[in-house]
């Protein structure tokens, strides 16, 4: 059976034009997707049933038992943490928020270790952005800053930017100027019309220099800024100012390098400045398929995109204090529920190590590095493969992930609802 227009749930591009060939509950061929999509759909490391750690290893337990014990762990905790959420659908995220509210937990998503700083910057200065189709149809200047889409978002350039044929840009290759800004010469840099190589930690200075030039203050700029020549900076500023439509995409190279959220703030203010000359937009390249959805769901339910602490009864938000990494690092958290993510692989060591010291339950389709730290692992459906649900693309466009096969696993939203029911004396959210 061939299924058309399948959505790839892997990265924030959420490409929705894949073609899958399925046979007997298995995916046998993936077309139109990138290599990441292929491995997303083709590799499946799911456990047959929930497992619980024993003195000597693991034992299989029933779903009911796993759910009961998870509820008990959460019920007995003083400072529970519910973390992850970015690789599942909004329906599961929403139940997660309800659980957090009910038991006074901290709930956080993977933004905490990726674009959290971008969110902080947006909360200070706002976000001039657009949907990806605006870029595809209009942009004649594309800037990739501190990111390497060829590796992390392989189809971003062909679907939305550099190579995409747009209404006002019928000959994409010729009509678009691509600028890549990075500290190292990445694959993406290889296709750039202009590659701007910045010294480590120099992003803030370069952004400030560009802002000054755009404002007509080029005379204050020294001959070199963080390794970039003044001539190149002036050239870049000119390309931007004379663009018909410019789009900046940035990644963790900007968000997580020295300056962090200040870098993003500076980049947004550069975009703002450029809007006084032409049209310019800026957007983070969001990593996990539905990380933006977790921000959206958290926001309409609690008011905040991540790091929400319900301990005081109200929703409280203070990144640096209520962020998962900080709660773990301080050793404050005494039970953790990890859903659809892998902090064992992505968190700083001290934070991840604390997960092993406390009862940690993982609800995730796949065995991952966090499993090794957990007490219980409950396998479930994978959103977009054997479960349908809502995901938000990196630009905020909501898309319904499809269920393409049935493998007989329960949906994580269902598992979470049962946990909620137990915590709430049998009543649903």
């Amino acid at each position: 059976m061939i299924i058309h227009d399948v959505i790839c749930p892997f990265c924030g591009c959420l490409c929705d034009d894949l073609e899958l060939e399925c046979e007997g509950g298995k995916i046998i061929k993936v077309q139109n997707g990138c290599a990441l999509a292929e491995s997303t759909f083709m590799t499946d490391t799911r456990l047959p049933a929930p497992i619980r750690r024993t003195e000597s290893g693991w034992e299989e337990i029933s779903y009911n038992e796993a759910i009961k014990e998870t509820a008990e762990i959460l019920q007995g905790a003083d400072r529970p943490l519910l973390y992850g959420w970015s690789s599942t659908h909004g329906e599961a995220q929403s139940v997660g928020v309800h659980i957090a509210e009910l038991i006074g937990a901290v709930i956080d998503n993977t933004s905490t270790v990726c674009h959290g700083p971008s969110i902080l910057a947006i909360q200070e200065v706002g976000h001039p952005g657009c949907t990806l189709g605006q870029v595809k149809n209009r942009a004649d200047v594309i800037i990739y800053w501190g990111c390497n889409p060829i590796e992390a978002h392989p189809r971003h350039m062909s679907r939305y930017t550099t190579y995409a044929t747009g209404f006002f840009v019928p000959d994409a290759q010729r009509e678009r100027t691509v600028i890549v800004v990075d500290t190292r010469r990445t694959d993406t840099a290889g296709i750039a019309d202009e590659f701007v190589q910045i010294e480590h930690g120099g992003d803030y200075a370069v952004l400030s220099a560009l802002r000054a030039i755009v404002r007509g203050k080029a005379s204050v700029i020294p001959a070199k800024v963080a390794g970039v020549s003044k001539e190149q900076l002036i050239r870049i500023a000119e390309i931007c100012k004379t663009a018909k439509f410019g789009a900046i995409f940035f990644g963790l190279g900007l968000t997580m390098s020295r300056g962090k959220y200040k870098n993003i703030r500076n980049a947004i203010e550069l975009t703002d400045e450029l809007n006084r000359h032409t049209k310019f937009v800026i957007s983070p390249l969001r990593g996990h398929g539905n990380v933006y959805g977790s921000n959206e769901v958290f926001t309409w339910m609690t008011g905040y995109p991540f790091a929400v602490d319900f301990a005081r009864g109200i929703a409280f938000y203070n990144p640096g204090e209520t962020t998962a990494v900080d709660i773990l690092r301080r050793g404050e958290c005494d039970a953790a529920l990890i859903v659809a993510s892998d902090p064992g692989a992505n968190f700083p060591r001290a934070a991840a190590a604390h997960l092993a010291k406390i009862p940690t339950v993982v609800i995730d389709p796949h065995v991952n590095a966090t499993t090794a730290l957990a007490r219980i692992h409950i396998p479930c459906t994978a959103a977009g493969i054997d479960a349908a649900g809502t995901a938000y693309r990196m630009d905020g466009v909501p898309i319904r992930l499809k269920k393409v096969i049935d493998r007989g696993y329960p949906d994580d939203a269902e598992i979470l609802k049962k946990i909620y029911d137990r915590l709430n004396g049998g009543k649903g959210p």
């Binding site: 947006i122 001039p128 657009c130 595809k136 959206e296 905040y304």
Partner: protein
């Protein structure tokens, strides 16, 4: 079977010509009926003011833009937060509350139906997700068409039927309710950082004018027999001197529908400015209202502003950028491919600002100078002019000259010179207010026959009982009692269930979402139009098959099918 008997209610039900009668209301299974059995639950209204549930015909409570307003404003989330309590979830936010916050506060004020003012079709799924989390009001969504490429192409071809077909396809795909035009043509121009300055200016690259878009859409709207009319946010919002654009727009509105208006002009306060600069801005409410008074085909809403902090959010991207250049606060922008734009900035309306004071006065002037209250509805373009929790204060101001005078005494002295508010003696009565907050909305939205906005037999039992005794309160003097009374109902009844008592929600919500499935002749269906499909697949970034909102997003969807045109 559930039954309620509301006795001793002081009912104002304008659509049924009831004005302050003491009567009983029988409710069975969500509807108003002739009588109920003696097993019915009894609510003694104690002669309190009892109105059909409030209807907001233009508010921003759900969807991409609203949620981004929350996302970027932790300072506002902190400004209003409540704990979980009984059936109530945690809420955050004051001017852009979380979905539950919106729902509970509206319900406490007696509101049972809301129209989200702006939904981009591409992002409709998001709006519907938030509707589900706004459980105590029936919801409907104005669907944005101001920069829709397929619409502009059909308009250029002067093809009303095709325009109608595009609208029908899009409404169905988005599960939308009606046509919204926000700065028509201007949002497309904003795609390249431009704006339009008049209704006869060409939209770049599309060779159509806002006037052509507006007229063709009005005709398409009536051809499709949509329940609501075209809902327009005029061009040039918020610019001194823009009243001329507004009047020119009103001039091109034909009278095409005997049952309701042909054009709903929203937040007209923002479109009623004289002068040419911020220095000499003045009120043109008299000109605007004299146009509306002579044109039954137009209904407007006030777009009242109230002093304090709030957030402006609209599909009108260029306007928001201009505002940002004045305020220098944070600014978000979000253009939507092939469809529309949007922008968000926080603002503070200050009594120290002459401009803000004049804006405040203009909104009130519009309401006081419009003869027929069905033609000027009470709205703030929530939260643009003020968060909806300010509605009771606006009611107080409209009902009391004394309250207005007391307020005016605290305002910038220019207010008196550049508006006529202080000279207006009119004080609206309870009936006027009932029209301007529910009956008028129901009629304008075309939902009277869905059982909304009235308390006749067969109507949906959406009822608000306010702790106000109209026989003993003199609104002109005791306006504070009026304001307080409208802030919190004794009972809000939604589809026959008491959902809110003295401000607290006591049940889980079970709202419905109304959407329109407009029928078109087979040969006009866009899903069969190869050119439409080709352009869609070429220029959108989602596949056409993934675009329509699936039924799972409307767990209690109420589909309204229109009659096919020929």
């Amino acid at each position: 079977m559930t039954e309620i008997w509301v006795k001793n209610a002081c009912v104002i039900d304008p659509l049924n010509h009831i004005n302050g009668e003491i009567m009983d209301i029988a409710i069975r299974d969500g509807r108003i009926v002739e009588s109920v059995s003696d097993r019915a639950d009894v609510i003694d209204a104690q002669r309190c003011l009892t109105l059909p549930g409030g209807i907001d015909s233009h508010t921003h409570v759900s969807g991409t833009k609203v949620n981004f307003g929350r996302y970027m404003s932790p300072e506002d989330m902190r400004a209003g937060r409540t704990k979980r309590k009984g059936k109530m979830h945690v809420t955050s936010g004051y001017y852009v509350p979380t979905t539950f916050g919106n729902s509970y506060r509206y319900s406490a004020m007696g509101y049972t139906t809301l129209l989200e003012g702006a939904m981009a079709p591409l992002e409709a799924r998001h709006t519907h997700e938030e509707f589900t989390a706004t459980p105590h009001q029936d919801m409907m969504a104005n669907t944005l068409f101001d920069g829709n490429w397929a619409v502009m192409d059909a308009v250029r071809e002067k093809d009303v039927r095709k325009t109608a077909a595009v609208v029908a396809w899009t409404l169905k795909a988005a599960r939308g309710y009606g046509i919204k035009l926000t700065n028509p043509g201007g949002t497309e121009a904003w795609g390249f950082g431009e704006d339009l300055t008049g209704i006869h200016e060409m939209v770049p690259h599309f060779a159509v004018t806002p006037a052509e878009i507006i007229t063709t859409m009005m005709r398409a709207n009536e051809l499709l027999k949509l329940p609501h009319s075209v809902h327009l946010h005029c061009n040039n919002l918020g610019k001194p001197g823009n009243y001329q654009t507004t009047l020119e727009t009103f001039d091109i509105v034909p009278d095409l529908n005997p049952d309701r208006q042909t054009l709903y002009a929203t937040h007209v306060q923002f479109h009623a400015y004289g002068g040419g600069t911020w220095k000499n801005i003045c009120s043109k409410a008299e000109e605007i209202t004299s146009s509306v008074n002579s044109r039954p085909q137009i209904v407007m809403d006030m777009g009242q502003i109230m002093f304090g902090r709030t957030m402006t959010m609209t599909a009108d991207g260029p306007m928001e950028f201009n505002l940002h250049c004045l305020h220098h606060n944070k600014w978000s922008n979000h253009d939507v491919e092939l469809e529309t734009g949007s922008g968000i900035i926080p603002v503070t309306y200050s009594k120290k600002s002459a401009v803000n004071c004049i804006m405040w006065a203009i909104g009130l002037e519009l309401a006081l100078l419009t003869k027929n209250p069905y033609q000027c509805l009470l709205e703030t373009d929530n939260p643009n002019g003020a968060p909806f929790v300010k509605y009771p204060e606006i009611i107080g101001l409209l009902m009391s000259k004394r309250y207005r005078d007391e307020e005016c005494a605290t305002l910038h002295p220019e207010t008196e010179k550049r508006t006529s508010l202080c000279a207006l003696e009119r004080e609206l009565n309870w009936h006027d207010i009932a029209v301007m907050t529910r009956a008028g909305q129901a009629k304008a939205l075309g939902i009277v026959n869905q059982g909304k906005g009235h308390l006749g037999i067969g109507a949906e039992a959406d009822i608000a009982i306010y702790p106000i005794r109209t026989d003993s309160v003199d609104p002109a003097r005791e306006y504070r009692k009026v304001v307080e009374g409208f802030q919190k109902t004794r009972y809000t009844i939604k589809r026959g269930r008491v959902v809110s008592r003295d401000g607290d929600i006591i049940v889980d919500g079970a709202n419905a979402t109304f959407w329109v499935d407009a029928m078109v002749p087979e040969d006009l269906k866009m899903e069969n139009d190869p050119e439409f499909i080709k352009r869609f697949e070429q220029f959108y970034t989602v596949r056409m098959s993934n675009y329509p909102v699936q039924d799972v997003y409307l767990p209690r969807g109420r589909r309204i099918e229109t009659e096919v045109f020929t």
